[in-house]
């Protein structure tokens, strides 16, 4: 007599890369599952109900997780975890399934692109990093669930969905008075004293990214960074650039709406994790 288990995956919604999401969902479901306890005495087999004895987990040896890579322009560009739009236009797809012990369980290449050996090696290194992160997230989630169940709190699918309506959410608009921005900026520039700390040389991180002094905490997210990068790139008097930054700051809020119009207004708290692997000789290729 043996146990038989069946795993059904229902896809509710997706924005690309179903394989990765499904692999995570599948392995987590199996880890979370509990089967009835059994005791065997010679020929006699006793199956206990969940009321008699606590159900026991399956013996899962390892957690293989899939990571997908989309290739563009004959392998020139590589995207980790492609979105729906990116999948529609990609040349080929490479899927690597790995567990946290860095053992490759599956490699699948589709789309007919020719892959060079070190591309595949690079992908497997990225996979190792991602799988380690994801496995840790899974462990935390499983522990959390166990803890909540023990303490008698609420658990399950309904609790894991954030408490907001799906179809409509309100975003309070911040009214910004941009009437006198020019004059205000001029005033600030003429009134202010030169900064005590003069940064003669911006710190060059990588080509295209420079830093002048320590900035204030970023409160807008990605949008602001690109604005500040542009401001930082302007060479010139450090004083002037410092005030440029300030001016950019006040202008940013008015241009925020302009740039925002080009992007869909969505509440995204699940951005793909940025993973940049820099090899000493190679140029940093764009990976996501």
């Amino acid at each position: 007599q043996v146990w038989q288990i069946r795993l059904d995956l229902h896809l509710l919604n997706h924005d690309g890369n179903i394989i990765d999401a499904a692999s995570i969902a599948g392995i987590v479901a199996l880890c979370h599952f509990r089967r009835p306890d059994v005791s065997v005495q010679g020929e006699e087999v006793t199956v206990y109900t969940p009321e008699e004895r606590d159900p026991v987990p399956l013996s899962i040896h390892h957690m293989p997780i899939c990571v997908s890579f989309a290739f563009f322009q004959q392998g020139t560009y590589l995207l980790v975890d492609p979105s729906e739009r990116e999948e529609c236009v990609m040349d080929g797809l490479l899927v690597i399934a790995m567990n946290k012990h860095r053992e490759i369980c599956t490699i699948q290449s589709s789309g007919g692109i020719m892959l060079v050996k070190d591309q595949v090696l690079r992908c497997s290194k990225i996979t190792a990093v991602k799988v380690a992160e994801i496995t840790e997230l899974i462990q935390k989630a499983l522990e959390n669930d166990q803890k909540v169940r023990k303490e008698g709190g609420k658990f399950g699918f309904a609790e894991s969905i954030p408490n907001q309506k799906i179809t409509a959410f309100k975003m309070e608009s911040a009214a910004v008075d941009t009437n006198n921005v020019e004059e205000q900026a001029e005033e600030i520039i003429t009134k202010a004293e030169p900064p005590s700390e003069v940064f003669a040389k911006p710190i060059l991180h990588t080509p295209g990214t420079a830093q002048i002094g320590e900035g204030i905490e970023n409160s807008w997210g990605d949008l602001e960074e690109s604005e500040r990068e542009e401001a930082a790139e302007e060479e010139g008097e450090s004083e002037a650039t410092a005030f440029e930054c300030q001016k950019m700051e006040t202008e940013d809020t008015s241009t925020m709406r302009e740039t925002k119009k080009d992007e869909p207004i969505v509440l995204s708290d699940s951005e793909e994790e940025e993973v940049v692997i820099l090899e000493p000789q190679e140029l940093p290729k764009k990976t996501r």
Binding site: N13, E84, I166, T167, A168, F169, K170, M171, S173, R257, E258, K261, D262, E263, P264, I265, V266, L267
Partner: protein, 179 residues
């Protein structure tokens, strides 16, 4: 009396007879085209189901083209069939969708909202730029404006309409038309 209309938020399309949808040609098999309409099965479309099509005069359809048509047959027992002519033999707007433009997916509920008579969103959009628009009941929208940038702006607005309140939408339009 006694009939209820239950509206739901759904992205998965199930073919229904009479629905006008946008299909993507995946194969040409002799006299019949196979179309992906987003359902569990591909729909079939005969080459004669176009206005003015005869055995000699075939429509110029290639794999990857977009077709706007309606379902002649759609039930759970049979493969769905599409046509690009209505019952009187006229195309009435159906057929091959032109070159360029942009195809994207939204939820079925948003399509129904956009197709409602006197839809505000469409009226406000038409004040912005001139554009061509095809709405498929299978959740697919095709947009074409004069420039790529204008097209993408319209795409983004339509996608965002899923989640924006009327107030937010009016604000977004105000910012755009002020530009």
């Amino acid at each position: 009396g006694g009939a209820y209309w239950v509206d739901s938020q759904q992205k998965r399309y199930v073919p229904v007879k009479g629905d006008h949808v946008i299909g993507i040609v995946t194969a040409k098999a002799g006299d019949v085209f196979k179309l992906d309409v987003g359902g569990s099965e591909q729909a079939s479309l005969s080459y004669l189901a176009f206005e003015g099509a005869t055995k000699r005069n075939r429509p110029n359809v290639q794999v990857g083209d977009l077709i706007y048509g309606q379902f002649l047959v759609a039930n759970k027992d049979m493969e769905p069939e599409m046509v690009c002519i209505d019952s009187s033999g006229r195309s009435s707007g159906m057929g091959i969708i032109g070159q360029d433009g942009f195809l994207f997916k939204v939820s079925l509920g948003l399509i129904r909202k956009l197709l409602a008579p006197k839809c505000e969103i469409i009226q406000e959009l038409s004040q912005l730029y001139p554009f061509e628009l095809v709405l498929g009941m299978n959740g697919r929208i095709w947009v074409k404006a004069k420039t790529v940038q204008q097209t993408l702006i319209i795409v983004n607005i339509l996608e965002a309409c899923e989640y924006m309140t009327a107030e937010q939408r009016k604000q977004a339009f105000a910012k755009l038309s002020g530009n």
